[in-house]
Symmetry: C3
């Protein structure tokens, strides 16, 4: 039966330091409000009819299909960025698209890349963008840092 | 309850150029007919009793367990290939296996690797291959190109 | 409805040689007892209320959310390790955490890393660890080898 019905989607982003790269990632997820759920990576479509909402409280341990980008670095002083963005077409019966970006980059560069990638994704689909939202974050590494950005796809049972 | 019941599986492959690596990947998925669904990567078993079908129409935004390979390159002139293949055992109560390959390689090389890998996967399981199918594709990069190949596992609710 | 209800979790680890890196990974999964199921990678939370069990028989082809680490090497003589570990908090209503590690390393180094990472994960959450378990394995590469360690999250329908 698959993972349906996804009814909501929510974006978020966060940054953190940690004593290992995996802890920095875990800490960045906690900073983004999604540190106590199980992310399952998807490539990367916003289903039609999904409601875009602020990140709700998600049940601990819930298994949540998520488009996400993460950049970890152990180079002090380096600036890392992660961004995700969704865009929806004018026809509400058609799907939207989610794009991800992570690199040694600034938040502005990451945001610009997302907008460009979403633009191309809609051009090739022959659709016009009705609305769009980007979630981006940057982090200057102290010792071991991570920037993460995510769009989660949520089912009613995941909430609460 | 998990993702059951998967009842069908379908393979496909495609190639494309794009203005970024992620767009090239997105465009290659569109060329392969799976650009408007959410792929979730699996490692990589064909459940027993699954029907092998030509790629059907899948609901936009469906979350689909998929074994896939993708090779992106930004080196003009480079040839990249991606391939997947499934093989089934003589005993229909036992699972099949899916193998993936991606590299700077030709389609023939990719196909040969899949056949070899499936052969070993069956030898170590003590099974003989009843039937096998490989989906492979190659692409000569113009600027930023991607080759992708995939076997999707489908539930009735994903179709339509 | 997502992937709920996950009711059990089980850890395992294994190593193997193979004639390709993907076959070595496949063979290591077989050695670990999870070679005939579909792993879907999760990042990496132990849901509250889940029962920790020895690895049960899982239906062939089942699609199983799994936190896993794998290290493959084609350098003869190299020692590779993979480890996963879970830890649960004192409050049974709160989620546990799973950490993964893979590298050119010994089993002892991998185990120590898991314990340190779980310790930090609990410190940042403001929780104390009630109990913990690490699954780790090392492998000296002959030609193409792989070490894998995994914690699977299981629903009743996955068993049998």
């Amino acid at each position: 039966m698959g993972w349906t019905p996804v009814t909501k989607a929510a974006g978020t982003a966060g940054t953190a330091e940690g004593s290992t790269p995996l802890n920095a990632f875990d800490n960045a997820l906690l900073a983004a409000g999604i540190g106590n759920i199980n992310l399952v990576r998807i490539s990367s479509i916003l289903p039609p009819g999904v409601q875009l909402v602020p990140l709700p409280r998600i049940k601990p341990g819930a298994i949540v299909p998520t488009a996400y980008a993460a950049q970890t670095s152990e180079v002090p002083g380096e600036v890392v960025a992660a961004a995700v963005g969704w865009a929806r077409p004018e026809d509400p019966g058609k799907n939207g698209v989610i794009m991800e970006f992570h690199d040694k980059a600034t938040r502005e560069e990451a945001e610009r890349m997302i907008v460009e990638m979403l633009g191309e994704a809609f051009r090739v689909r022959g659709e016009r963008i009705r609305d769009m939202r980007v979630f981006a974050v940057e982090h200057r590494v102290e010792r071991t840092g991570c920037a993460v950005a995510a769009v989660t796809l949520l089912a009613p049972d995941d909430l609460g």
